[in-house]
């Protein structure tokens, strides 16, 4: 019943049964049975038109506002990609619900996580100093970068000073935000992403499409094509274990010869100066433990006070992101190995400014679980690349304007404000309310398209003058054309442009009916 917790049977129902494959393809246990753990129950989803070209992301318009609407339209037009993407991520959302709601204390934990983060962020200077002092005492070298460019320069310098020719790295949204790969291209140092999704995107010259699964928008055919082009594999062999093994074998030599490895940081524990990284592949551990130099890029907002707090976040993170109690690898880096080096690069890049934004500073609590993307009905139908930014989906909408106000001024309107994102956020960021608040900022800063702002002025004028409003309605050729929500909102008739009929106009409005049938009523107290 609507309102009752989903039962397992209900989760078997899907919107697009035609894209569900019949053969179980995931990992099996020793007896050959499908794994029952959350990711293992992923429904195999097969695009029926195997060679539907992959829809590409938002067009590059330089610093002009991203046209997410146009990119989303192309994603929807790629019907097999869109359906598969939508079903896959909705499935992730359901698995999240099952794992999260299995804990009676789930909502209490969200509240605790939110409070821990708000405390850490409002005492950030002292926790950062504590973290740095502990790290230095452990033999770690600590660098500070004010912005993306400085982060890239610091890392580059560390590598060139040591004659590094090959750098392996694990997934780090911060390094993507800093444009690290683009910076390093042409510097004479080979940078190899070891995370499968990031590697696919790197080879295909695309940004990550999702914070947890960077290539989740691609079909296996798309991946086979990327690998065939870059790694010389068979473009027609689209078996997924085979594709993963192509990348494993191709990447391993780099892991063995790399002179440096780079990771991001999920959590930075102040009490001991420890960097915590969560992966499913173990590639952060490979990147940090195989070469003699480990560099960790750390956003200032990653700080948490103690290990007891880490337990709260870790119990939330994997359940909320992928529906399992833990990620396969949870690594704690505190000090370099004997004979090796460890460097931390602490990065600001606008975070300290965001701390001062009354309506938006709590977006710094984000632990990059991706659940907001999985639940967002707009994201699932648009694809992450339609947002034209490192961070996409609901969290992207509220972060990106702080990175580039003009370029991302359009993103807050790529939302229905339905509020599901806020409800799944493990640290209780009021995402949809911040999206609403950003719209106010964009309007006040005159960043709305002229058509929109002009229409709002007209609407605001007409709707505040009852006689004028009634006269306008009465004078219409059709009542339809003057409906406030769409009217003036629809000079180009977009209500009907994409497959939706106009409502029929009734013979009289309620207002006219009232005047006719209740003429004696003054209508005022």
């Amino acid at each position: 019943m609507s309102g009752v917790e989903s039962t397992p049977g209900q989760t078997a129902r899907v919107l697009h049964p035609e894209v569900i494959g019949s053969r179980f393809e995931g990992a099996r246990d020793a007896e050959g049975s499908p794994l029952v753990h959350a990711e293992g129950t992923s429904k195999p989803i097969r695009a029926r038109t195997p060679h539907e070209p992959q829809p590409r992301g938002a067009r590059d318009r330089g610093n002009l506002p991203v046209d997410q609407v146009e990119a989303a339209e192309r994603f929807i037009a790629a019907t097999e990609h869109e359906k598969a993407h939508d079903e896959r991520l909705w499935d992730m959302r359901l698995r999240r619900d099952r794992a999260a709601h299995a804990l009676p204390e789930w909502e209490d934990m969200r509240a605790l996580a939110s409070q821990i983060k708000e405390h850490a962020l409002t005492h950030l200077d002292s926790y950062l100093c504590q973290f740095e002092a502990a790290a230095k005492a452990n033999g770690v070298v600590v660098h500070w970068a004010a912005d993306a460019a400085e982060h890239n320069r610091i890392v580059h310098r560390l590598l060139t000073d040591r004659g590094v020719k090959t750098l392996i790295k694990s997934k780090s949204m911060l390094t993507d935000e800093c444009g690290f790969r683009a910076y390093m291209a042409g510097m004479g140092i080979e940078v190899i992403e070891t995370d499968l999704g990031e590697r696919i995107q790197q080879l295909d010259h695309e940004e990550p499409a999702h914070v947890v699964g960077p290539a989740i928008h691609k079909t296996r055919e798309d991946v086979a094509e990327v690998f065939a082009r870059n790694l010389g594999s068979d473009p027609n062999d689209t078996d997924i274990p085979h594709l993963a093994s192509v990348q494993r074998e191709a990447t391993r030599p780099f892991i063995l010869k790399a002179e440096a490895g780079m990771t991001g940081c999920n959590f930075a524990v102040a009490e001991t100066g420890t960097v915590v990284v969560c992966t499913s592949e173990g590639n952060a551990d490979l990147s940090a433990n195989t070469p003699p130099l480990h560099i960790a890029s750390i956003g200032i907002e990653k700080i948490i006070p103690r290990f007891e707090h880490l337990a709260v976040f870790l119990r939330l993170l994997a359940r909320n992101a992928i529906g399992t109690p833990m990620t396969q690898y949870t690594s704690h880096f505190r000090a370099p190995r004997a004979g090796a080096e460890m460097h931390f690069v602490i990065v600001d890049n606008g975070r300290s400014e965001r701390l001062g934004m009354k309506d938006f500073w709590t977006s710094l609590k984000c632990i990059r679980c991706g659940a907001c993307m999985n639940t967002c009905p707009v994201y699932r139908r648009s694809g992450g690349l339609s947002y034209g930014a490192t961070y996409s989906g609901p969290i992207g909408i509220i972060l990106d304007p702080t990175l580039n106000r003009k370029k991302y001024s359009s993103l807050p309107f790529s939302s229905t404000l339905n509020g599901s994102c806020t409800n799944v956020c493990p640290v209780k960021i009021n995402i949809h309310e911040q999206i609403f608040a950003w719209r106010k900022v964009m309007s006040e800063e005159h960043r709305l398209p002229v058509v929109k702002s002009e229409m709002m002025k007209v609407l605001g004028y007409v709707l505040s003058r009852p006689a004028l409003y009634r006269a306008a309605l009465a004078a219409a050729d059709e009542a339809l054309r003057l409906l406030p929500h769409f009217v003036l909102a629809d000079p180009l008739n977009t209500w009907t442009s994409k497959g939706r009929d106009m409502p029929a106009a009734p013979p009289q409005t309620f207002h006219a009916w009232w005047r006719e049938h209740r003429p004696q009523s003054r209508g005022h107290p």
Partner: protein, 196 residues
């Protein structure tokens, strides 16, 4: 002013208003673990694609390896109970372990809530052993299984180890079409042998 001072100054200048105290963290009882840590642990480990055995089910870990990973040529053992094909004194650099088929390591503890096992550099000898090897076999004392992550993090090893890591099943990824596969970059299989 150094970058460090600038960043810290900006943080102080932008500090949000209001009182934001650190909350007290209650201890949460893990559902299902009341039956016993061992049962929960094995269930959670299996759910993540790991394998679970009791040492009483086999004559020795080495015998189990020979029987179940028959193609293993090079076994690298970090535990005294299992002989090692790889001579540790010959390992100069982490990459020297690239040809290891099976690594055998003892865990500091296990976590019943998630089926995780914990290692530090002391158990691994060379950290990257647990990642370059094709298969990982883990020896774990039954008494070292704790109920959940909250308890695990009270272990003093987190204050002292240079490197500590939870493994929860073998290396995996679902990056392509959300289909889960094992043996992504790390080990293809993870087997825990629990003894008392």
């Amino acid at each position: 002013m150094s970058v460090r001072e600038e960043v810290l100054a900006r943080i102080r200048r932008n500090r949000p208003a209001g009182d934001h105290p650190l909350p007290l963290i209650p201890h949460f009882v893990i559902p299902g673990v009341e039956q016993g840590n061992l049962q929960s642990f094995s269930r959670a480990l299996n759910a993540m694609g790991g394998r679970f055995f009791r040492s009483s089910e086999m004559s020795s870990p080495l015998a189990w390896i020979r029987e179940n990973i028959p193609n293993a040529r090079i076994i690298c053992s970090a535990v005294p109970e299992v002989p090692s094909d790889r001579d540790w004194s010959a390992v100069r650099r982490p990459r020297d372990l690239a040809d290891v088929d099976v690594a055998v390591v003892r865990a500091v503890l296990g976590v019943a809530e998630s089926g995780s096992v914990l290692f530090t550099e002391a158990e691994l000898k060379v950290n990257t052993l647990a990642y370059l090897a094709q298969h990982l076999v883990v020896l774990l004392d039954e008494s070292a299984i704790v109920s959940g992550l909250q308890v695990a993090y009270t272990h003093p090893v987190f204050q002292t180890a240079r490197y500590a890591v939870f493994h929860t099943g073998p290396s995996a990824t679902a990056d392509i079409e959300g289909v889960l596969i094992h043996g992504a970059q790390g080990v293809r299989s993870l087997t825990v042998i629990v003894g008392s």
